[in-house]
């Protein structure tokens, strides 16, 4: 049985080979190249503010002179710390020199994905509401669904943008050079920048971002706090800042976060979940118009997601302006057009190709993901990474992108609740979906509105990729038809809505003095 032995040996060989395969996962952005900004953007302190009255609304105290004993002692401390770096500290320096704004956006995407799970039903069929005052319980707080996430990304990005503009203002007012420029013996991770170091932009970012994230994701307080402290330590170890640069930056960042948080506490989010009476009145109003009202397809039935999110304050527009840019009515549920569109959904699902399924899954962005706004932040990050932007200019891209996606979320949710239009699977129970069915009315498609707004905004900052952004937005939109959860008109009107809001927000960008 020589042959048999050979076969047995071959089997063993294959097993050994397979067991030694490397299964480790490499994420493309795990190591970002150190950012060497093409420009320090010396005038960023004069760029228009969004929440703050001006760049000096929070005052930064004068730094001590670089010739003084106190600063010299700080320089010595930098050099001592650099000489005693651990491997973990070196890794942290590499991580944060990939740029703080990029890193914090990545961290926020992870937080959104972690908390993007709907509450489980109670035994009696009711659903508990996540409670910010009790974030660790079941359900944990928050449920970072798409509107929650759109708002969260926008608050973090706007607060970062405000804080960095203020930081730039004070940096160029005091003009304290970086430690490496004051003392050539200080080592640097990248070539010493001409950017003044007081207050430290890394510390500003750590302070403002941690405060915002702790508000938005309170159950991850420990992780957020550790990341922020790591960023500040990396600023010193990389030779970009001394202890007083960091202390001033941290204080500035936290103070500006407090101002932005004041806005957040009063923007209407606390009433966004709505209530059973509102749910009934939305349904009754649709029925009174002769339409088939949306019904939850979940068991037990769940209230429409954040049914009152349409009243949350927008960043760049009044409530009346939000309404003015919203789409008109969808086709009546009893119209021939709706019958035709329903047939299109059914036909699509019944004849779905593998490529179409891949597109539906690629853009699913459902529970447990960073949501469609997070997906677009990830897309933006690749372009920001390659554009060699200063931190303040990178923050501007995210601020405009995320303000647009927040403002369109407000308009989109207002429209969804106004028309309370049923999903395809409600009107035709034989339509089964290839992705999870979102638990809120269909018209217009949230994916399409987010994507229209994002593609428009990003095309302004990265015009060379306009066609690509537009194609992505179209693909994100059509993915909802392939998934069996949206009618073609939801997608078409959604993208047009998103594009209008994107253009609106760009008017802010065009006038902010950064060009």
């Amino acid at each position: 049985m020589k042959g048999a032995r050979i076969v047995a040996l071959a089997m063993l060989g294959i097993a050994v080979l397979v067991s030694s395969c490397d299964k480790s996962i490499v994420e493309p952005n795990a190591s970002l190249p150190p950012v060497e900004a093409a420009s320090v953007d010396a005038n960023a302190g004069s760029w228009k503010m969004i929440v703050l009255s001006g760049p000096d609304q929070v005052v930064v105290p004068d730094p001590t002179p670089v010739t003084g004993a106190a600063y010299q002692a700080e320089l010595q401390a930098v050099k001592t710390a650099q000489a005693n770096m651990t491997d973990a500290q070196r890794a942290a320096v590499r991580y944060w020199t990939g740029a703080g704004v990029l890193r914090w956006n990545e961290i926020e995407r992870e937080l959104v994905a972690r908390y993007n799970l709907p509450p489980a039903p109670r035994a009696d069929g009711s659903y508990p509401l996540p409670d910010a005052e009790n974030p660790f319980s079941d359900p944990v707080f928050p449920f970072s669904n798409p509107p929650y996430a759109a708002r969260a990304y926008s608050y973090v990005s706007v607060a970062q943008y405000e804080a960095l503009k203020a930081a730039w203002y004070w940096k160029f007012r005091f003009n304290r050079l970086s430690p490496a420029r004051n003392d050539p013996a200080v080592a640097t991770a990248v070539a010493a920048s001409a950017l003044p170091s007081y207050p430290s932009e890394d510390a500003v970012l750590s302070g403002v971002t941690a405060e915002m994230l702790k508000l938005l994701f309170p159950a991850s307080l420990e992780e957020i706090t550790r990341k922020a402290a790591e960023e500040r330590e990396a600023a010193i170890l990389s030779g970009r800042a001394t202890a007083s640069d960091v202390a001033a930056g941290l204080a500035l960042g936290k103070s500006i976060a407090a101002l932005v948080i004041n806005r957040a506490r009063a923007d209407g989010m606390s009433t966004a979940p709505g209530n059973p009476a509102m749910w009934k009145s939305l349904s009754d109003a649709a029925a009174a118009r002769g339409e088939t009202p949306w019904q939850s397809q979940e068991t037990p039935a769940r209230a429409p997601l954040l049914m009152n999110f349409g009243t949350v304050k927008a960043w760049t527009m009044t409530a009346a302006q939000v309404t003015a840019l919203e789409p008109g009515a969808p086709p009546s549920t009893s119209s021939q057009q709706m019958k035709d569109e329903l047939a299109t959904v059914k036909n699509t699902i019944d004849n779905l190709t593998r490529d179409q399924l891949a597109i539906a899954l690629k853009w699913n962005d459902g529970a447990g993901t960073a949501t469609p706004p997070g997906h677009w932040n990830a897309i933006a990050s690749d372009y920001v990474r390659d554009a060699r932007m200063s931190e303040v200019r990178a923050a501007r891209v995210y601020a405009m992108l995320n303000m647009a996606m927040h403002d369109v979320a407000v308009g989109c949710w207002d429209t969804k609740m106004k028309f309370f239009n049923p999903r395809p699977a409600q009107l035709d129970p034989s339509i089964k979906t290839m992705i999870g069915l979102p638990n809120f009315p269909a018209f217009p498609s949230g994916h399409s509105t987010f994507s229209g707004a994002a593609a428009t905004t990003l095309s302004y900052f990265f015009p060379q990729a306009r066609a690509s952004f537009d194609a992505m937005a179209d693909e994100a939109g059509i993915s909802r038809l392939y998934g069996g959860i949206h009618y073609p008109s939801d997608i078409r009107e959604g993208k047009a809505h998103g594009t209008r809001i994107g253009e609106w927000v760009l008017n802010v960008a065009r006038a902010d003095g950064a060009n």
Binding site: A4, M11, K23, P28, V140, L361, K362
Partner: protein, 323 residues
């Protein structure tokens, strides 16, 4: 001598012919939400060795369903799927290559559905599994108990482009795997037998259609998912007499890593899918045909983690012939 009679008479007289038990185990032992060893491996479990040039061809139908599952360690139901049913039709061919080497191939077609909610069922050709069983030793102990030791190795690979990213309705994990197993078989002259094995399944990483996913506390921004390996253990006690053969046993699947399903989350392909399953089979040699056997089986997952609390039934026919 009572035993599961061979389907075919031996072509050559053998010294102390060993009664071949025919533990055609039913199925779906590693019943999972769609994980490692669903219905694909259903009939690859036994220690049966075929004669040289003997061929067994089987057609099986299996159906498993669950209306409760373990979300991590929490046993629950979910109104948005109701009862999830996985059915399959499988083809299996075993060939005796030599007295000590038997090769088996199996390929199921699988389709899934949920009794409630809006999620679409999935269907397709699942994974081709090839196993080679090599008989290492075959001693007679104390003149009355035959001990058989087998070394088993195999490979499994998806045969269609199904997605693993739609659990619990995906038809499989879409992972390539390599299987190694040490199996033992003990049979005495009164018709009792014992089968047991320990197995390790190495699984390749899988690729999703999306560029990010959350698993094990981390948000991965890549489409590649690390798949933890799987250990399988199985013990079966059986009895054979005349045309009947009845094995009963327990199997345990332990996924060597992976995360729990989070509260109210969907299951994910790399979850830690564990299952302890009881199974029973009945094999009956049809009268007046020397080479056709009816196989029936049932299995139930007693306890698990990130898998359905499933009950499965299998039926099939095995036809034997010489090349």
């Amino acid at each position: 001598m009572p035993h599961c009679a061979p389907l075919l008479p031996r072509r050559r007289a053998k010294r102390a012919a060993v009664p071949r038990h025919l533990v055609r185990l039913a199925t779906a032992l590693a019943i999972t939400l769609g994980g490692a060893r669903v219905l694909s491996a259903q009939t690859l479990e036994d220690a049966e060795m075929l004669q040289r040039r003997e061929v067994h061809a089987s057609v099986t139908y299996a159906s498993e369903g669950w209306s409760e599952y373990w979300e991590g360690t929490l046993r629950r139901s979910n109104g948005n799927v109701g009862e999830v049913t996985t059915q399959s039709v499988g083809l299996r061919v075993g060939v005796g290559v030599g007295q000590r080497l038997t090769v088996i191939g199996s390929l199921p077609y699988v389709w899934t559905e949920a009794s409630q909610g809006v999620l679409h069922g999935m269907s397709g050709r699942q994974d081709l599994t090839l196993l080679a069983k090599y008989r290492v030793a075959n001693p007679l102990i104390a003149g009355r108990v035959r001990l058989k030791l087998l070394a088993v190795g195999g490979l499994s690979t998806p045969t269609s482009d199904y997605t693993p990213d739609f659990l619990p309705l995906s038809i499989g994990s879409h992972s390539k795997s390599a299987i190694t197993r040490l199996a033992t078989h003990l049979q005495d002259r009164t018709g009792w037998f014992f089968d047991g094995y320990a197995e390790r399944v190495w699984r390749s990483n899988v690729t999703l259609d999306r560029a990010s996913y959350f698993s094990d506390g981390h948000y991965y921004e890549t489409n590649e998912v690390a798949m933890p390996d799987v250990a399988m253990y199985r013990g079966t006690l059986g009895w054979q007499r005349g045309a009947w053969c009845i094995p009963v046993g327990v199997s345990a699947q332990r996924t060597l890593g992976g995360a729990d399903i989070r509260r109210q989350d969907m299951p994910f392909v790399s979850n830690r899918m564990n299952a302890t399953t009881a199974h029973a089979e009945v094999m009956y040699f049809l009268p007046r045909t020397s080479n056709l056997r009816l196989d029936l089986g049932a299995a139930h997952t007693i306890t698990g983690r990130n898998v359905g609390r499933s009950t499965a039934f299998m039926t099939g026919f095995t036809y034997a012939f010489h090349l």
